[in-house]
Amino acid sequence: MGTIRALRRISRPAAWLTAGMLALWLADALPVWARQAAPTAPSVGHLESLEELAAGHAFYLLLEPSQKRLRLMLGAAELSRYTVQSVSIGRPRIAFIPRRAGTSAEGVFRDGQLRPPRTVRRMPVTPPPADAVTPAEPPPIPPSPEEAYPAPPRYVVAFDAGPTLDVRSLAAEGSGRGWRRLSSWWSGFWADRVGALAASGDGSRLLVVLGPDDAAALYRALPPHVSLFVCPAERFPCDIFTRPAF
């Protein structure tokens, strides 16, 4: 009986809840549009950050949205280049209410961790006994990189602060058909919702769509604790790395 009474009381608060959410959404939506339209101010700070990375000994990703390019770098040397199909920034919203963004999507973000993590295969090798009469069996042929580290169609690189890099393979973005497409949409739907609810750092997400081969190669190759530098779109300071050195 107590349960029935409780449920009877629900209908009115549910109506108030819905009205409240609508009001909050209307109040918050306008500043979000204004924020998205304003271009980010250029700054020498970007170049200083880039110089710090170029002089360091750590791996970092260089994302150039304007050039549709993602590069893996060590110091000032380009190690690998991935062609980006599209880059977008996602701001989380919960029940239509946008979360306030803490930082800009430009600059340096550190200590990136791959999710799902790529676990290194550590197989123990047992040496044959010294007095073995029969020769040891030849070791089995190890798997290829594709077999050893199958890349998921979408994965994220989470940094200790700032946005999360959400890498999706073009195949996961709807180039498949039928059941595969539906299943990728379904997993994407829930991943977005769970991601928005559990967003850490400033909660925003940089969505990068790569070709299937590039996405898989990056997943397999990404070193641990990688940093991310997002080049300001309107200044192109990262083209320094593509000019010949004098």
């Binding site: 349960t3 029935i4 449920l7 009877r8 629900i10 209908s11 549910a14 819905t18 959404w25 271009p39 250029p42 020498v44 170049l47 200083e48 110089e51 170029a54 002089a55 000994h57 304007s66 549709k68 060590l74 110091g75 000032a76 040397a77 380009e78 690998s80 599209s86 880059v87 977008s88 920034i89 996602g90 701001r91 989380p92 919203r93 029940a95 999507a105 197989m123 123990p124 090798v125 047992t126 040496p127 006994p129 010294a130 190890p142 290829s144 990189p145 977005d192 997400r205 940089l206 969505l207 397999r220 190759a221 779109a233 309107e234 192109f236 083209d239 790395f241 593509t242 010949p244 050195a245």
Partner: protein
């Protein structure tokens, strides 16, 4: 016990819903509100490229890239000076690929083999070796033609043979291919007798290349050529 409580609560709720119209309406409304809230949860995506900023912003960007301020120019020059000059070797150890690059140009791509990541333990547990290829920046410290392998302890332990006490018992000719590029701490880029295993992580930490690729790399690199392994 907890499951029993949950089950009895669920049964009571269902009975209540079946008997009361208002309760049913309330539950339906709550469910609908949750679904709407769920639909409104996620991310609002905005493209990050020139088109998002508009043509005027893109023009401004190009202009600012051409005419940097004085401090900009100084910083840019400093970054350019940090770039590797000339050719450099890049090894993608997970995908087992070796590249020879010169600025933006890839001069050579080769299938290689890198560290297996396996762990070898001595039977008595006295020593342990992890067969990883190191990550980071290195450079060619020495170039060796017709290299002779000085077998380390693990080579004997792995084969179940006693570790020799005499140095001359450690040398083996012909297993490292025609050339070796030594980059420190016992690691080399060298040839292999097992070309069918190229493309797989099978080595004890060195980088193995096929005969033709090794010949080409030998001619295109010099002492001091930087090696980047990731």
């Amino acid at each position: 016990m907890t499951l029993d409580v949950v089950w009895s609560w669920l049964r009571a709720t269902c009975r209540g819903l079946a008997s009361s119209r208002r309760a049913r309406a309330g539950a339906a409304m709550l469910l609908a509100a949750s679904c709407v809230a769920l639909m409104g949860t996620g991310y609002d995506y905005t493209a990050l490229d020139d088109t998002a900023l508009g043509d005027a912003a893109a023009d401004l960007a190009r202009a600012s890239a051409v005419k940097p301020s004085r401090s900009d120019a100084r910083l840019r020059a400093r970054i350019v000076r940090l770039k590797p000059r000339g050719r450099y070797i890049v090894v993608d150890q997970t995908n087992n690929r070796l590249y020879l690059r010169d600025a933006d140009t890839i001069l050579m791509t080769a299938v290689c083999s890198s560290g297996s990541g396996m762990v070898l333990k001595q039977a008595d547990g006295a020593s342990e070796w992890v067969f990883d290829t190191p990550r980071g920046r290195f450079e060619v410290l020495s170039r060796i033609e017709d290299p002779i392998w000085r077998k380390p302890d693990w080579a004997f332990v792995e084969a179940g043979a006693p570790v020799p006490t005499r140095l001359e018992d450690r040398f083996e000719r012909g297993v490292l291919g025609e050339y070796a590029l030594y980059f420190g701490n016992g690691f080399m880029i060298h040839g292999t007798l097992y070309e069918r295993l190229l493309g797989r992580s099978v080595t004890h930490g060195c980088i193995r290349l096929g005969r033709e690729d090794l010949r080409r790399l030998w001619t295109l690199t010099t002492l001091g050529t930087p090696i980047y392994i990731f």
